[in-house]
Symmetry: C2
Subunit: 210 residues, 2 copies
DNA sequence: GAATGTGAAAATATTCACAGCG
DNA sequence: CGCTGTGAATATTTTCACATTC
């Protein structure tokens, strides 16, 4: 999506699989196949999306990708924990543009409850279930210390969220019906240390998003 | 490493590949093969690490993994950008225990320079190259806005870091000799949205660390 | 001419299954 | 016996290559 956007920004109407691939450090066939596979997920028929001899219409392709990845919907998320990471998330801002909105903020600490953070008033963690339901939030963001994370995850699950973005450095035990994505700083740092070490022995590159 | 640690905490001396696999939601053979492959990276001979009929010695295995992943070394990192994410990283703390230490903090904003954040005094971004060299830092952490990220990456590269942990929402163009790990909030959220959407159509679980 | 979509081929990864060891 | 280490068997992913379309 980012590369597509940058092509659009450059004023391009269409882009070829190989141009995209070059920008991403991939093989053109990968892009074509991934696109075909991804779009095949779109329930019914969406038909071929590229045009022989021309490439892909950037705007059209972006729309289809948004659709199939769920980025076309509006996702309501609740943030649990407003320590440093929580506040960083609130300040991050880049969510709205992507269809994500933080609709409530919770914290277990008495001292935090009632405080204002941006446009949010911090609520007591006790009210989490009720609040999530009444707001219709579908995503929970866990930004609490490790010790509290599992219990928050259980509360979120009980409240009926469909997915959890977990910043606590642990694997959550969660129902099969819930999607969990972990963002873990120490894992990322260790990944980097490993990549650096590996690069010393073998002269090949490694890059990835965690 | 986390699962191993938790087995140790539970008082276990040894652990079998299948016990580890169960904790990680994997197949025992995967664990054995990964371990064999990972330890094979250890330049010379390290010999078999598990014991037939018993399993793996947790402490020994952890040591070997640390060694091969570079977690046994002490990594010095410089943090560039002390907005919300930067400050969250500083407050995170969990680094020292893992062999990572933030040895300097930089920011481009005049108003920030000279301020104290924890035990660090924020330095002017202009001094980055000199400072990185004199401190012998090997990792750079980019926590600046997207617009500034590439230029910071170039500075870090010029200063001779071996790897970059990038929190800016973009792909950095970097020399092949530098390892880059990206941590991207909007990508993680989109991943979650996709997983949720996918779970609605296909009844399979998806979980991952980003 | 340029570039897609996709079978077929090659490369990787995962799983099975079992000989061998303590 | 319980469990590792690993060949062999599967399955999946990646790449190639080309007929087809605009």
């Amino acid at each position: 999506m980012r590369e597509l956007q940058s092509f659009v920004t450059q004023g391009r109407q269409t882009v070829s699989s190989s141009a995209l691939a070059a920008a991403l450090g991939l093989n053109g066939a990968v892009v074509r196949k991934d696109l075909a596979l991804l779009l095949a997920r779109m329930g019914g028929r969406s038909g071929p999306i590229g045009q022989s001899g021309v490439g892909y219409d950037c705007a059209l392709l972006m729309g289809r990708i948004r659709e199939v990845t769920g980025s076309d919907r509006q996702w309501k998320a609740v943030l649990v924990g407003c320590g440093n990471i929580g506040r960083a998330l609130l300040a991050y801002g880049g969510f709205d543009g992507q269809g994500f909105e933080i609709v409530a903020v919770f914290d277990a600490k008495r001292a935090m409850v009632g405080k204002r953070l941006g446009k949010h008033r911090v609520q007591a963690a006790v009210d989490l279930r009720r609040s999530v339901r009444s707001l219709g939030a579908t995503i929970g963001i866990i930004a609490v210390p490790r010790e509290a994370a599992q219990s928050v995850a259980d509360d979120l699950t009980g409240a009926g969220v469909q997915g959890i973005l977990n910043f606590a450095p642990m694997r959550l035990a969660a129902s099969e019906t819930i999607s969990v994505v972990n963002v873990d700083l120490s894992v990322s740092l260790q990944q980097l240390a490993f990549d650096i070490s590996a690069a010393r022995s073998k002269p090949s590159v490694r890059e990835g998003t965690r």
